[in-house]
């Protein structure tokens, strides 16, 4: 496959995925929701990952390496693991810390401790 064909396919698919994601959200914002917000989140992540995949293959030529082992792919996989641990771990920990703080109002219902004014 020629590289020009690669770039064109990548470009058209990326445009399609971007417009689809925008259109879904725009419908939702206008009140004509096709999906619930929860389903839409999954769809949008799916569209973003699909576009990531298309651009990695068509634009960044990942997987087109002739030599073995495929060092570019290995470095990419390592970076992907770091990203998942970093972003996933941060959201996980901070979400639970946040929940811990709001639970304080249930432990002290009299209002002696206010989570809003309390220092950490």
């Amino acid at each position: 496959m020629s590289t020009l064909q690669n770039y064109s396919i990548g470009f058209l698919l990326s445009i399609a995925f971007t417009l689809a994601a925008f259109w879904l959200v725009w419908q939702h914002v206008q009140g004509a929701a096709l999906f619930s917000a929860e389903k839409l989140v999954v769809l949008l992540v799916g569209l973003a990952v699909a576009q990531l995949y298309v651009q990695l293959i068509c634009f960044l030529h990942l997987g087109a390496e002739k030599q073995r082992p495929r060092w570019s792919l290995i470095i990419f996989a390592f970076a992907a693991v770091v990203v998942v641990v970093l972003v996933g771990g941060t959201i996980w920990i901070m979400y639970h810390l946040d929940r811990g703080h709001t639970d304080l109002s249930e432990i002290y219902p009299s209002g002696t401790v206010s989570p809003q004014t309390q220092d950490d």
């Binding site: 417009l19 914002v29 949008l44």
Partner: protein, 196 residues
């Protein structure tokens, strides 16, 4: 084509690989900014969220412009490989023009937010937004400067192997910025509009 005699043929692959390793470390930088944004997103101190202030169709145009520039930088590499000088120039010039258009739109958005009193100093949510999107914008700016230097190098050295390799590195950098923007578009703007 005049070959670069100071460097063995396979050395170019090593340069490209080294540049790829740099890009993957830049991914980690952006990952930490995305994580920060995800955590601080809701901490607006009573102010409306950035997504409520943002004009979504405007951001869609920014996205389409950057996407098109990612295609034209691909064309640049394609024409450079075919040694078609004029087309290489035109594709690179189109890339830089689209990059400049994207930057102008982003700066306009930033200036508008600051003017309305929604600067990065207003609250944690805005700080995280300006840091994430601003860091991407800074990359696009530096990429545009780099591209301008490549235009000069193309004029002086034409189809020299070193310039071809630099063009290849530049295209990887530019495509990478487009990939980062997809996630900014999805997680900052689209998710923000959904209020999640």
């Amino acid at each position: 084509m005049k070959e670069n005699t100071s460097m063995p043929a396979h050395a170019g692959d090593k340069v490209l690989f080294g540049f790829w390793v740099y890009l993957m470390s830049d991914v980690v930088l952006f990952a930490s900014l995305f994580a920060t944004h995800a955590v601080l997103q809701g901490q607006t101190f009573g102010a409306p969220s950035i997504a409520e202030l943002a004009n979504l169709p405007f951001v869609l145009w920014e996205t389409l412009i950057l996407l098109t520039s990612s295609f034209t930088v691909g064309l640049t590499v394609y024409f450079a490989a075919k040694k078609r000088k004029v087309q290489t120039f035109l594709a690179l010039a189109a890339t830089l023009a689209l990059g400049a258009a994207f930057l102008s739109m982003e700066l306009y958005e930033f200036a508008h937010l600051v003017k309305e009193g929604h600067g990065p100093w207003a609250n944690a949510s805005y700080s995280a937004f300006f840091t994430l999107v601003g860091t991407h914008g800074l990359h696009v700016f530096l990429g545009t400067v780099w591209g301008m230097l490549l235009v000069v190098q193309l004029m002086v050295w034409e189809a020299h192997a070193t310039v071809a390799r630099r063009l290849m590195c530049f295209s990887l950098f530019w495509h990478f910025l487009d990939v980062i923007w997809i996630f900014i578009f999805t997680f900052v703007y689209l998710f923000g509009a959904l209020q999640v």
